[in-house]
């Protein structure tokens, strides 16, 4: 796929990627997804998103070529490719912070490199394509275990690890009440993961009825529509005996709706780095001394955010791009043992050629869409 400008994408021919570094591999994509993160690019909100870029950071496929220093991966391996590009050697990678690698993104120090995610995240072409260049092939890519459904595998590149880390960063203790803003793929899977950490009560807030309905069934949790509330913060206070939630997760990020001023300044005029409505609600609805876990993505500049309340309430904020590779062993186990069932989130399978329609459907939340997966012609 080829980005042409805000809300304009299409299919174009590009030269096949080549090995440019001895640790590179070339992967023939068999499945790739569109993610809520892609919507920030699609809407033109991420600085340095160049026309002609190929998006896509959630993909699996077959290794068809390897560089001279690649030792573990072999041609013919089917691999899960984590969305982060990580060298495995820098201090940050050594600490398991694979989303914060220092040797993969020249353009910005404040974000690690991500496939197909603008030049601010490294300027790599992504996986909504037939072939992709995958740097540091021995570090990120993980061979898909025998018998694993490719639809489960493709969701292990981002959705499941991100959702799991959202819950992990919440520092959930047994019995805790957790509120999650956002019932997209990330929020839905996060609701499921909160239980694994022993949450006592899980509440999801969104405004899209079909998604609330889905998460209620999928994650066995409570789900409420904020458009039916006078004020979501008061609603949460009330339902937690006026204390606030122990942990609040922001699984919305920069495209948030629900507050006109945030929407205008954050999404229309780009005066702030996206609309910070969910982060704002999170800070105000968590209990004093509580934890706010942010996985919703915001841009690199500033946001309108109640910092004073963070201070006065003594909050802890934890946030990051998910360190996919760190979580994979445990999450593969969970999928294999039937604890987690990622593929149930996939609602749409679309030929890669129809990428423009898939973006539009996912972006506008049409046709009860939760997660679309793109299938390239070579994989059909």
């Amino acid at each position: 796929m080829n980005y042409r400008g805000p809300q304009r994408v299409r299919i174009d021919e590009k030269p096949e990627p080549k090995i440019l570094h001895p640790e590179d591999a070339i992967v023939r994509v068999t499945r790739s997804c569109i993610c809520g993160s892609d919507l920030h690019l699609y809407n033109g909100n991420v600085p340095d998103t160049r026309v002609g870029t190929t998006f896509g950071h959630e993909f699996i496929g077959e290794v068809i070529e390897i560089g001279s220093e690649v030792q573990k991966l072999k041609v013919g391996d089917m691999v899960i490719v984590p969305f982060n590009i990580a060298c495995g050697k820098c201090h940050f990678c050594k600490q398991g912070l694979f989303g914060n690698c220092h040797e993969s993104n020249s353009q910005a120090t404040a974000v690690g490199a991500i496939f197909g995610y603008s030049h601010t995240a490294g300027g790599y072409d992504g996986g909504q394509a037939e072939y992709v260049r995958v740097p540091y092939a021995d570090v990120g890519p993980t061979v898909i275990p025998e018998g694993m459904d490719p639809d489960d595998a493709v969701l292990l590149t981002d959705v499941v690890p991100t959702a799991y880390q959202a819950a992990e960063m919440g520092g959930i203790q047994k019995g805790d009440t957790v509120v999650i803003f956002g019932a997209g793929p990330i929020g839905i899977m996060a609701a499921r993961c909160c239980w694994l950490f022993g949450a006592g009560r899980v509440i999801v807030i969104d405004k899209i009825e079909y998604r609330l309905e889905f998460v209620r069934n999928y994650a066995n949790c409570e789900a409420y529509n904020y458009e039916e509330m006078d004020d979501p913060v008061v609603f949460i206070k009330k339902t937690t005996d006026w204390m606030g939630a122990d942990v609040v997760i922001d699984a919305v990020g920069a495209e948030a709706t629900g507050n006109l001023m945030q929407t205008i300044t954050g999404r229309k005029l780009l005066l702030q780095a996206g609309s910070a409505t969910a982060a704002h609600w999170a800070v105000n609805s968590v209990k004093k001394g509580g934890i706010v876990s942010i996985v919703g993505v915001y841009g690199p500049t500033d946001n309108l955010f109640p910092l004073g309340n963070v201070l006065n309430k003594g909050l802890t904020i934890r946030a990051n791009q998910a360190a996919v590779k760190r979580h994979l062993p445990r999450l593969i186990e969970h999928v294999q043992n039937g604890i987690l069932n990622p593929k149930a989130l996939i609602t749409h399978r679309v030929p890669l050629e129809d990428v423009a329609d898939a973006y539009h459907i996912f972006s506008e939340k049409l046709d009860n869409c939760i997660k679309p997966v793109l299938i390239p012609p070579t994989a059909r």
Partner: protein
């Protein structure tokens, strides 16, 4: 509401299997190494040959060992991007010009398409075909508004001529 009485979660597969009482906010998420305070000193991966223009943040001394080669800066948008990269990530003079370059780049993209003799099919690129199947009222509204705006513009323009 805190759960004062123990509840039964047996219907939830895997409840509590990853519970970690040590994971309170002061428990570090990263694995500390003994290299914490040694600065930029690790054994770097091999450098990818720098044979395309790569802009790099002035908050680091070099180009990273690997980098993306997609769409190097070019044209007017490229000039604006080069200017932006003279300023740090801490500065609006970095981010605002980049956003401006992105917009200029869209126009360059259309010119490039026209140069190749193809008019971009904006409706297809916007995925409005999907609206026909899943959001017909929305599509009709959009087209209706477009028609209204066009008619109004035509009326206004023709009036001025009189």
């Amino acid at each position: 509401m805190e759960n004062k009485t123990p509840k039964d979660y047996s219907h939830i597969k895997g409840w509590g299997i990853d519970a970690d009482p040590k994971n309170d906010p002061t428990y570090p998420m990263k694995h500390r190494t003994d290299a914490e305070h040694e600065g930029y000193s690790w054994d770097r991966p091999t450098q990818q040959p720098i044979d395309v223009e790569v802009l790099h943040s002035i908050e680091r001394p070099n180009v990273t060992a690997v980098f993306g080669t997609s769409v190097p800066p070019s044209g007017l948008s490229g000039m604006i991007r080069r200017f932006a990269f003279k300023h740090s990530e801490n500065s609006y003079l970095h981010w605002l010009p980049l956003l401006m370059a992105d917009r200029v780049n869209v126009v360059e993209g259309v010119i490039e398409d026209l140069g190749k003799g193809s008019v971009p099919n904006i409706f297809a690129e916007k995925g409005w075909k999907a609206d026909w199947e899943h959001n017909r009222t929305g599509l009709i509204q959009k087209v209706g508004i477009l028609a209204l705006v066009t008619t109004a513009a035509v009326v206004l323009l023709t009036r001025k001529k009189d």
